[in-house]
Every structure is written in structure tokens, then in C-alpha cells.
Amino acid sequence: MKRSLLGLIAVGVLLLASCGDDDDGGEDASPDETLAPDDTVAPVTGSGNNVQASGECGAGTGEAATGEPIKIGGMATNIPGVDFTWITEMTGAYFECVNDNGGINGRPIEYIAEEEQVDPQQIASLAVKLVEQDQVVGIVGSTSLIECSVNDDYYGEQGFHLIVAGVAQDCFSSPNFSAVNMGPYYSSLGGAQAALRAGAEGTIVVVSPNQPGFDLINSGVVEFAEENDMEGVSILEDVPINDPAGLAQRLVAEAGDGGGVVLDFTGPTVLPLLQAIEQQGLIDSVVWASSTPPNDPSLAAELSDAWNGKFLINAEFNVLDSGEPDQEHMNEVLEQYAPDVPLSSFAQMGYLAGRIATDALLSIEGDITKESVNEAFRGVTNFVSDILCAPWYYDSTTGSNVSNNVDLTVAPEDGNMVQVEECFKITDLPGNPLDEIRAAEEENGLNTG
């Protein structure tokens, strides 16, 4: 009897565990056109007011801020296989550096970073907590699988304009959010463009975590493939992946010989899959590409030389060892204030969100209030950094914000990540607003250095 009861309880545990774990308007993106020089963009370099000296952040006074704290909020997803807290931690690290350098006109930033587990009710509650209980005046660095979808209306009602790292497509289709990154939809698309340039033919497969919204994220690659007279296949995979060799076989079977596969997973999740692909002897069967997250030197260090130049990662930001001033500054801040955060694209997102927000806060003349802060955030234009391929701005004026829409490609090489393609424009498609956004950028002088 006891054994039967225990068996039923164990099955209950198993089931609970299972719950824990989800035409026109644009240019035709033919392979030739994708390779066209017009799509290549000269990268910006760190110069001018935005470059900060070693050890300095914000006002750079070198003196600790002691005034009344300015409360800024943030929220990040943290579930098995998806951990975005690196981003809020890095934003918080930059704010700490700002506080050690005079803060915002003598007032320190108090950064309140929450973690969420992809529960809409929890996410809505946390937004209310930040805004109404903690009374934050701005929200910066938030990175969530679904928060943009859940809290868009609430933030709109409250007059908040968030500087985020976007994941869900709603982060890029609302005037209430502007992301320092381009998110998995556009980054996967960039990966597919790189795969096509590398000779992928026939079919392009895109595989993402089986989480809410990722079918929409995959849809860009599918549409891109179809626009190029190829077949597009979307796969959603439970993470962590518990049979990577089987998945590797499936991906190659779906893509067919010479096809392309775009992976859309974080570094710790994708590494076992890459190792299984190598073990199965499938590296050369298709062209392997990826969205941004695996652009992480620690991942390159774990890969064998067999992957040299054969994993095309769309990097929304410059390589981490570019040696450029902003990147070096970020590396210093990370080492001093957030040594536990891996040197990664996620760290770049958190750093940029913090930098942009700090510059906006310092530009406020008069009282620092919810209204003035969010107006300052919304007014950011042409933020220059060598971490980005093109200057960043908040508001495209079209209702959709994809300010970061030009990036590059990196690949592992002898234990490092190296740049293998120049900055290029993410392709516009009938299903995305890039065509309209770029027209607005040109008209309003946005995204220019």
C-alpha cells in the first residue's frame, strides 16, 4: 500500500516537474541582394561624449553619491534553461559605478531588480510593486520572456517608457519599450542571413525554446526562407535539452544536406547540443547559425577546433575583446562590480541599458520625477558606442522600436569568438516593420552618428 502511495506521489512529482519546463513593403531578400554592399554598414567607433575614462561612470567625479536615492526598477526571467538576470545584474553594476562617481548630481541610483518565472500574474504583480509600492521613477534593463506582452498596457497607463533588453516581439512593437538589443526574432533572422550567405540551400530550420511567444520569434526565419524560395521549418524544443544527439539528428534531417539551421538558445543550453552535433559528425552536414546569446567567450573556450568558423553567430553587439574604448570600459566595470556575471552579450545589454539611462538621467534639468525621467528616456537619440554597429535612439516615431537593427556575425575560432562579417542590416520582411522604421530613421535623422 505504501509503495503504491509512494508511486502515485512520485508520478505527481514527475508531472509537476514537467510543468516547470515551451507582401511587400520590403526588399526581396534574394541571396544576391543579401550580399549586396548596400547592406553593409560601417561600424561606429567609441568617441565623443559617450566614451568614459577608466574607472569613471556617469558624471565621473570619483566621489560617492550620498543624496536621496533615485529609485530605478528592473525585472528579469530566471527559469531552468533561461537566465536573464545577468542583464539586470550588469545594469545594477553600472549603476553602482555611477554611484561611486557622483551619482546623478549627487544622488545615488537605487536599483531594484526583480526575478520572475514566466508567470503572467507574478509579472503583473511585480510591475505594480515596482511602480506603486517601490515608486520607481524609471525601469531599465528589464529582460523577460513575456513581460512586454503582460505589462504593456499598464506601463502605458502609468506613463513609463522602459529601456530594456527585448525578447518577446511585443518589446519591439510598442512605443512603451525600446530595447538596446534587437531580440531573438531579428537576431535569428540575422543568423539566417549569414547562413544563406555561407551557402545554405533548400531548407532553413530555426529551433527555439518551447516558451510562450517563440513561435512568433521563429516566424521571421521561416518567412525569410520562403522569400528566398527555400523551405522554412520552425521547431520549439523543451529546455534544458535532454537528448541533444537525437535533436541534432532531427535538425539535420529536417534541413537536409546543405541546408541551414539557426539555433536560438542561451550558451549553457546550446553547448551540449553543439557537442552532440560534433560527436555525431554533423558539423559539415548543414550550415549552423545562431542568434546572439552564444556570443560568449566561455562557450568558445569549451568548443573544439572542429567548430572553427563553422558556427555563425549573429552578434547584436561588437566582439567582447574588440579593444575599443567602450568595450574596454564595460569589461572593467564588469570585473570590478559584477565579477560573477560572465563576459557575454548579455553583459553588453545590461551595460548599454545602464549607460543610456544614466546619460538620460544626467540630462534632466530640474526635478527628477517619473515624468521627467521617462521623457528623458524617450528623448534619447543617437547614442554612440563602439559596442553597437549604429547609434541608438529610443523612439522611432512609428509605434514600433527596433533601434538596434544593424549588427554583425561572429564565430568560434581556436577558443575565441572572432568577427567574420562586417556590420549589416537585418533584412526587412513583409512581416516585420524594419522598412517603415528605416524610412522614419532617415526622415528624422535617427540612427546616425
Binding site: 505504501k2 503504491s4 514527475l14 534553461g81 521547431i235 534544458p240 535532454n242 550558451g267 560568449d296 566561455s298
Partner: protein, 292 residues
């Protein structure tokens, strides 16, 4: 109809490690009444210790690999010695829940010490590859299958022919009566904890190669092993072995079918539930008094 051969081969290899882990769970349960839910977490911690030793280069590689197995044995033995006696008279459900505490402690510790960067171990045997039915089979996969069969056979023989094994079987039947017969219960239980832990460490090392060194992934790979053990009714080593292979093969084969591949990770739950329903149905159909 997709070509299933490579998926069958890969599933057989994966199932071998599920089976081995399941057998380790069953042996411990039979001897101590404890369903060790921290099995995967212990293996994952051992594998990460191995990764650290390899990364630091402080010891020869074989010592680093051995460290995973030794950690599995030591951590499990330590838990058994410290918490086994106080929980010995408690309900199996309480004992199982207590191991959830160990799981959470290890999970937190792993994420604190190793959690952020990607990690990977490549055993030398993973480089010994040969092709079989369009799948590339590595030495590690072969070891996984062979080790599962060897562990099951060895355990079955051990339980049958040795004094300690006989004592373990007696404990499984009735702990109190066995104790009154003069069997050193705590020592026998410690042996079960140690043996189960060593298998756990070995499984962790193999799984870190076959599935990847992902903290959460490895920790919760106890689930397929638990399902195999349930199908074996927490008693039969051979049924557990077969169930482990079955789970691996079915799950891997479903990968080949696009329509259902998304749901293949449900395989352990579905098979375990079907087995429990079948056991329940069979018990109802058995006339009262006809059971042994």
C-alpha cells in the same frame, strides 16, 4: 516514414544510463526505503567537480573522472549516515521528501559555484566513434549500455549470493525483524547508500557526456530514472533495466516524428502512468486471497 535507425541507436544509449540510474534508485529503496530524488543533483555536482579539476589541471584526467564517482559515493553515504537513522522509522514519503531538501541544497550550491558559464566534459571514450545505422556511436554510449547491464547483473548477483546482499533483501522485507535477528542494519544500509552513490556518480559522469553538463538538465534527469524505477515497482532490477531502455528508445524515436517530437519529453511520465494504471487494474482483477 522517417528513418528510425539512428534514433533507435541513440535511444538505446540514452536508455542505458536511465536504466543504470533507475537500478541505483531501486537498490537503495529496497535496502533503506528511501527514494533518492537528489540522485541527479549528486551526479551533476560530481560531474562539475570533475570539470573543475580538468579545467584547473591539478590532477591527471583519470583522477578527475574518478572524483565524480567518489563524490557520488561519499555524498550519498554521508547523507545516508547522517539522515538515514533519524528517518528510518518514518513513512517512505517523508524519506523521499527529505531527499528533495538535499536536491535543493545541491542545486543552489551548483548554481552559486558554477552556474553562469557553459561547461562541458568530453571523455576520451567520446572520441572513439564508429558509424551504426546512420548514427555515430561513441565509446561513451557503448559504456553506458554495457555499464547498465553490468550494474544490474552485478547487483542482482550481489543481492542473491553475498551476506550483505541477503541482509539488504531482508531489510527490504522487514527492517525491525531483520534487526532483531542480529543483522547490523546501519552498516548494511550504509553499504546500500555507498553502492547507490557510486552508481550515481558513474551515471553523472556518463550523462554529462551524453546529455551535456547542464546543472538543471542533469539534476532533473532523475525523472526518467524515477519513471523506470516506478515501472519496476521499485523492486525488480530487471524490469527497471528494461524500462530504462524502453524510455530512452521511445523518447528518442519520437524525435523523428515532427508532429509529436515536441512532446517526447513526456515519455517517462506517460509510460510510468500507464504502468501504474496497469498494475492497479491487474490488482483489482486478482481475486482476494490469491496473492502471495
Amino acid at each position: 516514414m522517417p528513418d528510425l535507425k539512428p534514433f533507435l541507436v541513440l535511444g538505446f544509449a540514452l536508455g542505458g544510463v536511465f536504466a543504470m540510474s533507475g537500478v541505483g534508485l531501486v537498490v537503495l529503496y529496497r535496502a533503506t526505503g528511501v527514494l533518492n530524488l537528489a540522485y541527479g543533483a549528486i551526479g551533476a555536482t560530481g560531474a562539475l567537480i570533475t570539470w573543475s579539476l580538468l579545467d584547473a589541471g591539478w590532477v591527471p584526467d583519470w583522477v578527475a573522472y574518478l572524483a565524480c564517482i567518489v563524490f557520488g559515493g561519499a555524498a550519498t553515504l554521508l547523507y545516508g549516515v547522517l539522515f538515514g537513522p533519524p528517518f528510518s522509522a518514518r513513512d517512505p514519503l517523508v524519506k523521499a521528501t527529505a531527499t528533495l531538501g538535499l536536491l535543493l541544497i545541491l542545486l543552489g550550491a551548483m548554481q552559486w559555484v558554477w552556474g553562469r558559464d557553459p561547461h562541458g566534459i568530453t571523455l576520451p571514450t567520446s572520441r572513439w566513434n564508429y558509424d551504426l545505422f546512420d548514427a555515430r556511436v561513441s565509446g561513451t554510449q557503448v559504456i553506458g549500455v554495457v555499464f547498465a547491464i553490468v550494474v544490474t547483473t552485478g547487483t542482482a548477483v550481489f543481492l542473491r549470493v553475498t551476506k550483505v546482499g541477503t541482509a539488504m533483501r531482508a531489510l527490504a522485507d522487514d527492517r525491525e525483524i531483520t534487526a532483531t535477528l542480529g543483522v547490523p542494519v546501519r552498516r548494511v544500509e550504509a553499504a546500500a547508500w555507498l553502492g547507490s552513490g557510486l552508481v550515481c556518480g558513474g551515471a553523472g559522469l556518463l550523462l554529462s557526456n551524453l546529455v551535456g553538463l547542464d546543472i538543471v538538465g542533469l539534476t532533473f534527469l532523475v525523472i526518467p530514472a524515477l519513471a523506470a524505477a516506478l515501472i519496476g515497482r521499485l523492486h525488480s532490477l530487471w524490469v527497471t533495466l528494461a524500462a530504462g531502455f524502453l524510455i530512452g528508445i521511445v523518447q528518442s524515436s519520437l524525435t523523428a516524428f515532427s508532429e509529436v517530437a515536441e512532446y517526447r519529453t513526456l515519455t517517462p511520465f506517460v509510460l510510468a502512468i500507464l504502468a501504474l494504471l496497469w498494475f492497479a487494474t491487474r490488482r483489482r482483477q486478482t481475486p482476494a486471497g490469491s496473492s502471495r
